[in-house]
């Protein structure tokens, strides 16, 4: 990618606990181009959310970014002063959380918090700010936005609250949005409404999106590219079609084999055996080797080899000693 909006290089985020250091994110690299939607997929404990928090420098102790670079429009976010970071956070990079109540203050009217969000970053009159808030609510599909601005967060349903959170994230037309499982808690029909809005807005304004989720179905419908995380590392990434149709890493294959829709009705699913190891007990070498059917002694080596192939002119990468995909199709 010539000029990525976001480029994460070898990010390492560790948590310093009493029992040792948990390497929640352990050498993650990826890029997001302008107007691109990247699906960052993984199960609980894979480090996908911590990656998102690290980019916005929202980590609290004992978590700390220990290494790597986070280049946003060419500028290393990790080198910025907190003050400079604050000018970017919320304005040029916004975040949407799984629980909208992490964004919304329960004791303030929507109006108050939204207008404040604008005034923090821009010198405009209160009236202008209010009008922009009203328009933003309308844009995410909230009926009668003027009245709803006066409401408190608890007066909205879960889906509507998430829309308010999205409207707030969009107020400054950020260049990049990091969305951490924003539709996971929502019903299917409501999820579909939110996805439709986000997709439309991203297209309209050329925003880039990092969509963090455990749901490969959502990624298939929404994203251009996917990165699959396992135990603190990206094990495979590539264009949606190439990766889902022809996964290279045994973990990606295992994930796809666990999804009921991929297996004929009534046949047993093909789950991955065992469970994700906690970061403190992560196996040396390839973290997946203890659950992998293809593991050999070679997998003990650190780090795993990275390989790259081109699929329709786009790069796809994986870290594995014995990738499973059919090379001729790659």
């Amino acid at each position: 990618m010539s000029n990525p909006v976001l480029r994460v290089e070898n990010l390492q985020t560790w948590f310093h606990g009493k029992k040792g250091i948990s390497k929640a994110v352990d050498g993650v690299s990826f890029e997001v181009g302008r107007g691109e939607i990247l699906g960052l997929v993984g199960e609980s404990g894979s480090g996908k959310s911590i990656t998102g928090f690290s980019i916005l420098r929202l980590l609290d102790a004992p978590g700390r970014v220990e290494g790597g670079r986070i280049l946003f429009q060419g500028q290393d976010l990790l080198a910025l002063k907190e003050e400079e970071m604050r000018a970017i956070r919320g304005r040029r990079i916004a975040m949407i959380f799984q629980d909208p109540m992490m964004t919304l203050n329960p004791v303030l009217r929507i109006e108050t918090q939204m207008v404040e969000t604008i005034l923090v970053h821009e010198k405009v009159s209160r009236q202008v700010a209010w009008e922009r808030c009203r328009d933003a609510l309308g844009m995410v599909g909230i009926p009668s936005p003027e009245e709803r601005l006066k409401a408190y967060p608890h007066q909205f349903s879960g889906g509507m609250r998430q829309r308010v959170a999205i409207a707030m994230a969009l107020l400054h037309r950020p260049e990049l949005i990091i969305a951490d499982e924003p539709t996971t808690a929502l019903d299917v029909t409501i999820q579909s409404q939110i996805l439709a809005r986000v997709q439309g807005l991203a297209r309209e304004f050329g925003m880039s999106l990092v969509w963090i989720t455990h749901d490969l179905g959502v990624v298939a419908g929404l994203a251009n590219r996917v990165a699959v995380m396992y135990s603190g590392r990206i094990v495979e990434s590539g264009p949606v079609d190439a990766l889902l149709d022809n996964p290279a890493h045994p973990y990606t294959q295992g994930l796809l084999g666990s999804i009921p829709a991929n297996i004929p009705r009534g046949e047993p699913l093909r789950p991955i055996r065992g469970m994700t190891p906690p970061p403190l007990l992560r196996p040396s070498g390839c973290a997946f080797r203890t659950r992998c059917d293809f593991a050999t002694d070679a997998c003990l080596a650190e780090p795993e080899p990275t390989a790259r192939a081109l699929a329709g002119g786009l790069a796809r990468d994986w870290r594995c000693f014995h990738p499973r995909h059919d090379r001729s199709a790659a």
């Binding site: 889906g159 439709a196 009921p260 009705r265 789950p271």
Partner: protein, 348 residues
């Protein structure tokens, strides 16, 4: 999958079952009533006239979004909640008419597996007691047999029997769900109500548990009511699927039929909007509107305010659930218009 004969008598059935929850008035409302203002107790119609039959050996998937009453009807069928109206029957006899011993046997034969194993397992009890207490109490085994019995059950559900003396917090989410399953199996049930039993699990663990459910069904000849919001999961394991919306059943059909030929506009919308691996780079085209509150549901067909095909009758009259094809029931007025569903309604 071989579907049990339709002629078989149902194991469990609900006829016209309703369940209403009433909220007591708060102070202001009581005062208002005192001074002569007419104030009604708010009533939540959680389940509103549901008919449902589950035949022996069948896996029935019950699908719906938040507030549709799927968990409530599950609890009614498992005998945990009493119905406000209607009749729940076990092997053809109304539960209310059973003799005490029969009623106890029926209650034991229907067990429930919950979504969150952490809040449904007593955190201060050891696994051996969580699983072994009920069968000892009900005289299924002797106290001295408990350890061997629980060990065998743990092995059956894929847990290491050396963990007998551990507490629930020492297990992972998937293992806790296995404890919940072993506890339900301990009293030798015939019928299991699984209420979002795999919803909280990661997809690789979810697949392990789903496989376990299917093995147990074959080995122990179990009947399931599998409640879930996840159509992919339901499609995979169910023989028959029932779709609920706001307290009512809107459609019920053999699984293959329902997914290939959905009849009700709500079912069609659900199927269309479920994220699927083979639906890439989609343009999401959602049905608009929110799920209405069950305190004040819309008149007529509950779905009419969101339905793209609604006409005058839909807001006036409740559509009956009736057979539109063999074993395929649907509650939609469009079927009376004698014309096929509008083009583009079908999923796919």
């Amino acid at each position: 999958m071989n579907s049990p004969a339709n002629s078989a008598a149902p194991l469990v059935s609900a006829e016209g079952v309703s369940l209403r929850f009433t909220r007591p008035l708060d102070l202001a409302e009581k005062l208002a009533r005192r001074i002569g203002v007419k104030v009604d107790n708010p009533v939540v119609h959680a389940v509103d006239g549901v008919d449902l039959e589950i035949r022996p050996g069948e896996v029935v998937g019950l699908v719906g979004e938040s507030g549709c009453g799927k968990s409530t009807i599950g609890r009614v069928l498992a005998g945990i909640l009493p119905a406000s109206d209607g009749v729940v029957s076990w092997k053809g006899k109304a539960l209310a008419d059973l003799a005490p011993a029969e009623a106890r046997a029926a209650r034991l034969a229907a067990q429930m597996i919950f979504q969150d194993p952490m809040s449904s397992l007593n955190p201060r009890k050891r696994v051996i007691d969580i699983i072994g207490e009920a069968p000892v109490y009900h005289g299924i085994i002797q106290r001295r047999e408990k350890e061997a019995y629980v060990s065998a059950l743990m092995e059956r559900v894929g847990l290491d029997p050396s963990f007998l003396q551990r507490y629930p917090h020492q297990f992972s989410g998937g293992q806790r769900q296995r404890i919940g399953i072993a506890r339900a199996l301990a009293v030798k049930p015939r019928f299991l109500v699984c209420d979002e039993s795999v919803a909280a699990l990661d997809v690789s663990i979810q697949a392990q548990i789903l496989n376990l459910f299917m093995e147990l069904r074959r080995e122990l000849d179990l009947t399931y009511l599998f409640i879930s919001h996840d159509l992919g999961v339901v499609r995979h394991i169910s023989d028959r699927v029932v779709i609920m919306y706001l307290g009512r059943v809107v459609e019920s059909a053999p699984a293959a039929d329902l997914f290939d030929r959905p009849n009700h506009p709500y079912t069609a919308a659900l199927l269309r909007e479920v994220p699927r691996l083979d639906a890439r780079h989609r343009n999401f085209t959602p049905i608009e509107g929110e799920i209405p509150s069950p305190i004040n549901p819309p008149s007529g067909c509950h779905f009419h305010p969101r339905c793209p095909h609604a006409f005058a009758r839909c807001s006036a009259e409740r559509p009956a659930l009736r057979e539109i094809a063999p074993n395929h029931l649907s509650a939609c007025h469009l079927n009376d218009r004698g014309q096929p569903l509008p083009a583009g309604l079908h999923a796919g």
